[in-house]
Amino acid sequence: MAQATRKQTLIQVANYPLDWLEERSGLVGGVKYFLFRKVPRDIGWWHTLGSASLTAFLVQLATGVILAMYYKPDPNSAYESINKITNDVTLGWLVRGMHRWGASVFIILMFLHLGRVFLFGAYKYPRELNWIVGVLILATGMFEGFTGYLLPWDQTAYWASVVGININGTAPFLGPFLAQFLRGGSEIGPDTLSRFYSLHMLLIPGALIALIGLHLYLVVRLGVSTNPWTPDPEDEPTVDGNGRRGLTRPVARGAVRK
């Protein structure tokens, strides 16, 4: 009896910080709600592509912050600083490699995720808005790739950016203005490099974080859709018993359930 009481006391003491936090913020409950929310029982590996993309993005964030500690966004020293990161700084080759190849991994995973959502019909009612937000994330991510490509400041980077900016410039009417804005002038120069650096590490990542937050909010709010080959949920128990069954699977038009 006394032992049990002591055990309870110990558990209470161990839990005290969490309880303190929960009572004042509700954060513990919130995190639990996010992590342990109900999902359809038969979803599988295909549904992990979204969180895989998120992981790739987090890797880009972390490695990018570290690279920014050594990189110098100045035309006279940018190429040298990249050389230094790759060859001199301890483990610099690894972090730069992770950032460089991770960028491609991020984009590829987003495309696979997009393909999964499309082929599973998971973009249908009520998740159309989340599809739109996802497409915006893809476009923003590709803009991140475009601005990051200039930063090594070698011949490949320079000419790829010349062509990329001029492609923007050929858009009718506003194209030439857009190109000039991206260049920060009528020719590529020092302003272009620092401008791309600022866009690449401040503006676009901020936009991406905001969009990903909105994307996740909608995922949690709307629930995860089942596989298209799952039998009709009429014969299945509801997912959370709260009448939210209709939100876990796209509903065929006209098939109104009560």
């Binding site: 062509v163 009528s186 302003d191």
Partner: protein, 320 residues
């Protein structure tokens, strides 16, 4: 009881016309590059499909409206309340309350309005700081004159690859290349063909198609101390490594995606030295060498048409 509408999809009726609309838009975009009739056809397809799409979508909305009365009658299964009951049940709104409501609206509107004004005061200069410098004072730094040394450096009829700094203050990033041919003297006036190496497609560096005589390279510094390099070359034409645009020795497009000829430099001869001035765009060149008739236009960006109907796609050029 109000029907719980959150579990029912409110989607427009099914329609295949978005496919037609997408085909139309794609046709317009392809047509902008390939041919004007295709633009017209694409626009027609897009407009018709959009109209039919909207019609389909609005038809779906109409059917939902038709369903409304049925649901209501099902809900009101019991005896209907007297017609006046609804109004009588409404609380009579005192004048004071109406006033307070008005003040609420006023206060929230003022708060929002003030917030918008403050936001504008903060945002407009910042955005201006971001955007404006790209468009202001662009002309001066671009029109730097470049001294390429005495014209005896340029043998008659021989193309030379000249590389030089357009703006020494900005450094290597402004290094430019021009292909220069001395056309000799006609009627006591010296003539030069000076082609920019910026491709008229997307701005890659155009390369000479022919042997480059590296051993005869000439390096010297101008009076301002900038390094200039001259290399003789015997090109049959010029080609772009990026997307395969081809030009003849007058800079006229012979194949590939470029939309006009290679840009050219204006030049002057001062104290026997060849001076490069502004660049200008060229749509086509008739004839060759000193007798060439050059269709010249103000400098355009790569990929921008300077003549034909397509020039209306770029009515205003940013200052450069």
């Amino acid at each position: 009881m109000e029907p719980n509408r959150h579990d029912e999809p409110h989607v427009p009726g099914p329609s295949l016309w978005p496919i037609g609309f997408a085909i139309g838009v794609a046709c317009v975009l392809v047509g902008l590059i390939v041919s004007w009739p295709a633009v017209a056809v694409g626009a027609a397809i897009a407009v018709v499909s959009a109209f039919l799409w909207i019609r389909d979508a609005s038809r779906g909305v109409e059917t939902e409206v038709v369903h409304e009365p049925e649901r209501r009658s099902a809900v009101a299964g019991g005896p209907a309340p007297p017609a006046t009951a609804g109004e009588a049940a409404m609380p009579v709104m005192a004048d004071e309350e109406v006033d307070r409501y008005g003040r609420n609206v006023f206060l929230s509107a003022t708060t929002l309005g003030l917030g918008a004004v403050i936001g504008g005061i903060v945002t407009v200069p910042v955005v201006g700081f971001m955007v404006a410098p790209a468009f202001i004072n662009q002309h001066e730094e671009h029109s730097q004159d470049v001294n390429l040394g005495p014209i005896s450096n340029f043998p008659e009829g021989q193309f030379m690859i000249a590389t030089f700094l357009r703006d020494p203050a900005q450094g290597e990033v402004t290094r430019r290349t021009a292909y220069i041919r001395n056309n000799g003297i006609t009627n006591d006036v010296p003539s030069f063909t000076i082609l920019s190496n910026r491709c008229a497609h997307l701005g890659c560096p155009v390369q000479p198609n022919g042997p480059v005589d590296d051993k005869a390279e000439k390096k010297f510094s101008t009076t301002k101390g900038e390094e200039v390099r001259l290399i003789p070359v015997s090109p049959a034409g010029f080609g772009c490594p990026c997307h395969g645009g081809q030009y003849d020795t007058e800079g006229t497009r012979t194949a590939g995606p470029p939309v006009r000829s290679l840009d050219r430099y204006e030049f002057a001869i001062v104290h026997g030295n060849l001076i490069l001035l502004n660049t200008f765009s060229v749509t086509k060149v008739e004839g060759t060498g000193a007798s060439a008739k050059i269709h010249a236009y103000d400098l355009k960006g790569p990929g921008e048409h300077a003549d034909g109907l397509e020039r209306f796609l770029y009515p205003v050029d940013p200052p450069h």
